[in-house]
């Protein structure tokens, strides 16, 4: 475990924070490049991007904050503790960012779907960000007897309040996720938009990630909250349901049958 990468005088470079920033920078570089390529850079899209960052940051902190409310109350800490030290969730970040984009686009009267511009950027950012999780967070996953199960030293495990399974080999669940995101990134960058309708490639990726993450949670080692499901799984249920509903509606509307252009004149 490497929770701290470096100490530069009074500045401590946290592994998780550094990889989060690197992931965001890489994602925004791709996003910027795509916007530039299609010549839609401008004031409105800049405001929408700022809204996405704010929404993502707040969503990441808030969406699973209910998991720790009891602990915060017991310790007599203010609610702000949840915002500053509470759990961070990629799912919350994505949901908060998405909601902020939708709302800010409505506010600005911006009707063009920009989702596909994020479709390659998000998996790249998440793949890089997850490296930070892998290097600094425990548990890595649930216990496993598979040959690639990973163990950590007792000293590293002792640094975490809760680390079930740290006594033996664990699923490297973050590496599974990195693999998923890199696969999605490769697919989207090599094949371009996977669906003909603007914005649906991003939604397809989010749906695939939602389903994948729901499954991964069973071997992630996160605390069970309710009905045998973890916090992220409970949050994912409505989000995945909404995405499924979107695609059902799209299919029923026949939008994937593109209008035929006039044939070329011979």
């Amino acid at each position: 475990m490497y929770p701290v990468l470096a100490r530069l005088g009074p500045i401590t470079v946290g592994t998780h924070d550094l990889f989060t920033i690197l992931g965001l920078l890489a994602g925004f570089a791709l996003y910027y490049r795509a916007l530039r390529r299609d010549r839609i850079l401008g004031g409105p899209i800049a405001l929408i991007s700022v809204a996405a960052i704010l929404g993502g940051a707040l969503g990441a902190r808030l969406i699973t904050s209910w998991e720790v409310l009891d602990d915060v109350q017991t310790a007599g800490l203010p609610l702000t503790y949840v915002l500053t030290h509470g759990p961070k969730s990629i799912i919350g970040g994505l949901a908060g960012g998405y909601l902020a984009i939708v709302l800010s686009k409505r506010a600005l009267g911006y009707t063009l779907s920009t989702g596909d511009y994020y479709a390659a950027a998000i998996p790249l950012a998440l793949a890089i960000g997850r490296v930070g999780c892998f290097l600094s967070e425990l548990p890595l996953g649930t216990p496993t007897t598979l040959p690639w199960g990973m163990t950590v030293s007792p000293e590293a495990a002792a640094a975490f309040v809760r680390c079930p399974g740290c006594g033996g080999p664990m699923h490297p669940s973050m590496l599974y996720e990195i693999g998923f995101h890199l696969g999605a990134f490769a697919l989207i960058t090599t094949r371009g938009p996977l669906l003909p309708v603007r914005g649906d490639t991003l939604k397809a990726y989010l749906l695939a990630y939602g389903v994948f993450r729901f499954g991964i949670e069973f071997i992630r080692g996160n605390e069970v909250q309710w009905l045998g499901l973890t916090g992220p799984q409970l949050v994912l249920i409505p989000l995945v349901a909404w995405l499924v509903l979107h695609f059902v509606r799209q299919l029923r509307s026949g939008v994937y049958r593109m209008p035929q252009p006039q044939p070329a004149i011979a």
């Binding site: 299609d38 010549r39 839609i40 401008g42 409105p44 405001l47 809204a51 704010l54 707040l58 915060v72 109350q73 007599g76 800490l77 203010p78 609610l79 702000t80 949840v82 915002l83 902020a100 709302l103 800010s104 409505r106 506010a107 600005l108 009267g109 911006y110 009707t111 063009l112 596909d116 371009g192 938009p193 669906l195 003909p196 309708v197 603007r198 490639t201 939008v255 593109m258 209008p259 035929q260 252009p261 006039q262 044939p263 070329a264 004149i265 011979a266």
Partner: protein
């Protein structure tokens, strides 16, 4: 520009809001259009009023947009301020705060949307009203926060 080019242009204009460039390119190639003519059409039509998603800023647009931004960003800021100002024991006021925020914020936004086109407010007046809305809304929110802070659990 020949008849082929105008067909390509019309197809792109009609479908650019819904379909990706790649999908339109494939559809055009499938019916025999020349790839270079398609690229030329995309070059001609790129970011023009035919598909430009950004409407011209009319008299109401700026102010309505400002009201929405106020509603979203102001609310998030106020929520953060509320959380910072209150201890956990006053969290019983959080639902009250959210209801007040949503109610007041939405009322302001709807009022602005309704009034601005009717009154024909534009230019400097729109800016003055827009700027004035922020402190008004902020005062209401600070008042709600202060009430929650002074009356924990209320």
């Amino acid at each position: 520009m020949g008849p082929d080019s105008s067909d390509i242009d019309a197809y792109i204009r009609a479908n650019r809001g819904t379909y990706t460039d790649e999908a339109m390119r494939d559809a055009l190639i499938a019916v025999g259009h020349d790839a270079s003519a398609i690229e030329a059409a995309f070059g001609r039509l790129g970011f023009q009023p035919g598909w430009n998603p950004i409407p011209d800023p009319g008299p109401a647009t700026g102010l309505v947009a400002e009201a929405w931004i106020l509603f979203i960003v102001g609310g998030l800021t106020a929520l953060t301020g509320f959380l910072a100002a209150s201890g956990f024991n006053s969290s019983g006021s959080l639902p009250l705060f959210l209801v007040a925020y949503l109610g007041i914020g939405l009322a302001i936004v709807l009022l602005v949307r309704w009034a601005v086109p009717k009154l024909g407010i534009r230019g400097a007046w729109a800016a003055v009203i827009g700027v004035a809305l922020v402190p008004i809304f902020g005062t209401l929110m600070v008042g709600t926060c202060a009430a929650a802070f002074m009356n924990p659990g209320g």
